[in-house]
């Protein structure tokens, strides 16, 4: 999952990015509105965290611009102005949720996870399909109620696939979200991870959770379990 953080205060931005990166997100960061808008438009982003008070271009304008350009990923507002007037303006411009400064990191990460999950069409924080269930808050994968140990890269891939269960995810998309831009990209790595995931989740090759669509990518193939 790749996040874009647009925040002009260096301390706040860097600390937030460090903690999000540690939680397994790929991060793009921008210190002003214009730069942020550029990243938001040109990079494959799953969610943007936008501060409202930005130099060069206000956060509200960035959000409006992004929505006008057809970018549909969730946007979380960071704002120091917590009058309802400002919150409502932000939500009306196209944001999906807000966090008021000074925030706790846990609050931001909870909102980010909820927004990502929702944008994948999941109503709860536990993504459950067939015998497989992924707890996105605890970052735990269970198959038939038995926990499966995953590395952080493996977790990121299965999370991405399960979030968008039923959709075809291209290999380059997975690569983009797996690495920060400076990393060397090697598509074979994805194949290796997918193979390892298949072995861990489905050692007997009976559930077949991940489909390979030749030349197109991968798809998490299990039906989502209806909640309630």
């Amino acid at each position: 999952m790749r996040l874009l953080v647009i925040e002009d205060d260096e301390t706040v931005r860097e600390s937030l990015c460090r903690q999000l990166a540690a939680a397994g997100f790929g991060i793009e960061q921008a210190a002003d509105g214009k730069e942020g808008l550029y990243f938001g438009r040109e990079y494959p982003i799953d969610l943007a965290i936008v501060d409202l008070g930005l130099p060069e271009m206000s956060g509200l304008e960035v959000i409006r611009e992004l929505r006008a350009k057809g970018k549909a990923y969730p946007i979380l507002i960071l704002t120091a102005r917590d009058r309802w007037e400002d919150k409502v303006d932000g939500l009306d411009a196209g944001a999906d949720d807000y966090v008021v400064k000074p925030f706790h990191y846990e609050e931001v990460s909870a909102r980010v996870n909820a927004l990502l999950r929702r944008s994948g069409g999941w109503a709860t924080s536990i993504l459950s399909a067939g015998p497989v269930s992924l707890d996105t808050t605890r970052q735990e994968l269970k198959v038939n109620d038995a926990e499966v140990e995953l590395t952080s890269y493996e977790y990121r891939i299965i999370e991405h696939l399960m979030m968008r269960a039923g959709e075809v995810i291209s290999k380059s998309d997975l690569t983009d979200r797996l690495y920060d831009q400076d990393f060397e990209r090697d598509s074979n790595v994805i194949e290796v991870f997918i193979g390892r995931l298949r072995k861990k989740i489905d050692p007997d090759n009976t559930i077949k959770p991940i489909e390979t669509l030749r030349g197109r990518g991968y798809r998490f193939a299990l039906e989502r379990n209806q909640t309630e």
Binding site: D82, L91, K101
Partner: protein, 454 residues
């Protein structure tokens, strides 16, 4: 003088008093002039009748004066004609009385001294007013002797008085009519003249009521500077509130980012007693800033208000809350009185509704209900009642009062306690309203807020 508040009433009363005075004087003068002229004419007539009597008198053989049986003036001969004549000799013995005076005693008044004439006003027994003229003459007989006689005539004043009364009636009628027409035209003119004043008055109350931003600029010269100055005043009042709000907003913004930075740095530290203490202070500073930012600015109650149609504002707010609470997905049922407006700052309304709805969405199971209705007693300032209900656990009786205390007691409030209802209470109070908490039929809390009650 009794104080009269309306300019046109003052003018009409003064003009009426002046009219009564001047027309009254004119009526008195005209009446007495007419009367005098009338009386003079009466005297001339009497004089003529007297001369005719004297001309008709002839001495008889005894040398006494006698009147012919028929006189040229027929009224002397007609009973009750109102014209009477008499001739008396020196010893006041009646030589002749006209036939018209038959059976009537006519007191001709005071006897004139020799050679004199006297006019007098007399009255018959039945009350008929008469004017009488008597002339004392020395009649020169054929013998050359002089014999004194008094000729008297009297005429009824009935017709004269009737004429006078008619004249007076006409005077009153005409002057009355003229006075009424004048008062009417003056009040018409006043209406026209005072129209701009009335317009400025209604525009000012529109500004106060929030239906108008400023006064128009099409007033006559005498008022245009008043309107201009009024607009400047309104503008500066509004600007003041806005500047205050912006200053506060910027201050809050510039304080909270460093707070966020401190917290960010802190979160990455290993948790210790020091980090916890700093964390508590951050929370406290944050609460102070938030609270001060949210309570209404010292706004001008007279001119700061704008009539805000709440429907559009609420739609944005409810849409926003649906996004924020997408997981819970509560139903937010909005029951809005038609065309209802909030007279005040839009920020204050959103703060009231936002805090109430946000709290309700947080607490509810699945349903939130918002009702906004005009206060039936509220006129002019457009009072309204905002009721927010939810189907959550509700607020226990004993917990209610502390929630509604005005002014956040910062040193006492525990960090993270939330300032929502304190802010609502303070905003409601600044609009003269109150907040009450009760139980909702939905099962949870029902919070009722009034604003702008009269």
């Amino acid at each position: 003088m009794i104080p009269v508040s309306s300019l046109s009433a003052r003018l009409l009363i003064s003009v009426s008093l002046l009219l009564v005075f001047f027309f009254g004087m004119t009526i008195v003068v005209l009446n007495s002039a007419f009367r005098e002229a009338g009386e003079e004419a009466q005297q001339d007539i009497l004089d003529g009748q007297l001369m005719a009597l004297i001309a008709a008198a002839e001495p008889n053989v005894d040398g006494d004066l006698e009147m012919p049986p028929e006189l040229s003036e027929p009224r002397f001969g007609n009973l009750g004609s109102g014209l009477y004549g008499a001739l008396t000799d020196d010893s006041n013995f009646s030589v002749w009385t006209s036939r018209s005076a038959l059976g009537t005693y006519v007191p001709y008044g005071e006897q004139p001294s020799p050679g004199q004439r006297t006019f007098s006003r007399i009255e018959l027994k039945d009350g008929t007013p008469l004017m009488a003229l008597s002339l004392h003459v020395q009649w020169e007989l054929a013998s050359g002797d002089l014999k004194p006689y008094t000729f008297s005539v009297a005429q009824s004043l009935d017709s004269f008085n009737a004429q006078l009364a008619g004249f007076r009636r006409q005077l009153f009628t005409w002057f009355g009519a003229v006075a009424l027409i004048m008062l009417f035209s003056i009040s018409m003119v006043m209406r026209g003249l005072l129209k701009p004043l009335r317009q400025i008055e209604s525009e000012i109350s529109d500004v106060e009521g929030g239906n108008r931003q400023s006064l128009s600029d099409d007033f006559p010269d005498e008022l245009s500077s008043v309107a201009r100055n009024m607009n400047l005043l309104i503008g500066s009042e509004r600007g003041r509130a806005e500047r205050y709000r912006n200053t506060l907003d910027n201050l809050a913004h510039s304080l909270k980012t460093p707070l966020a930075a401190i917290r960010a740095v802190l979160t990455e530290q290993r948790s210790s007693e020091v980090t916890e203490k700093i964390e508590a202070q951050i929370e406290r500073m944050n609460d102070i800033v938030r609270y001060q930012l949210k309570i209404p600015a010292a706004r001008s109650k007279k001119f700061g208000v704008i009539a805000l149609p709440v429907k559009k504002e609420l739609k944005k707010l409810v849409d926003g809350l649906h996004k924020v609470y997408k997981d819970k997905n509560p139903s937010i049922d909005v029951d809005l009185a038609d065309g209802i407006v909030f007279r005040g700052e839009s920020g204050d309304f959103l703060e009231l509704a936002g805090n109430l709805l946000d709290n309700a969405c947080k607490c509810c199971e699945a349903a939130v209900k918002l009702t906004i209705a005009p206060l039936s007693v509220g006129k002019g300032l457009g009072g309204m009642r905002i009721i927010v209900e939810d189907d959550g656990p509700g607020i226990p009786e004993e917990a209610r009062a502390p929630l509604l205390e005005r002014g956040m007691r910062l040193d006492e409030s525990a960090p993270g306690q939330g300032i929502g209802l304190a802010v609502v209470t303070d905003i409601a109070a600044s609009y003269g309203g109150t907040v009450t908490i009760s139980d909702s039929t939905l099962g949870g809390a029902k919070i009722s807020v009034t604003v702008n009650p009269d």
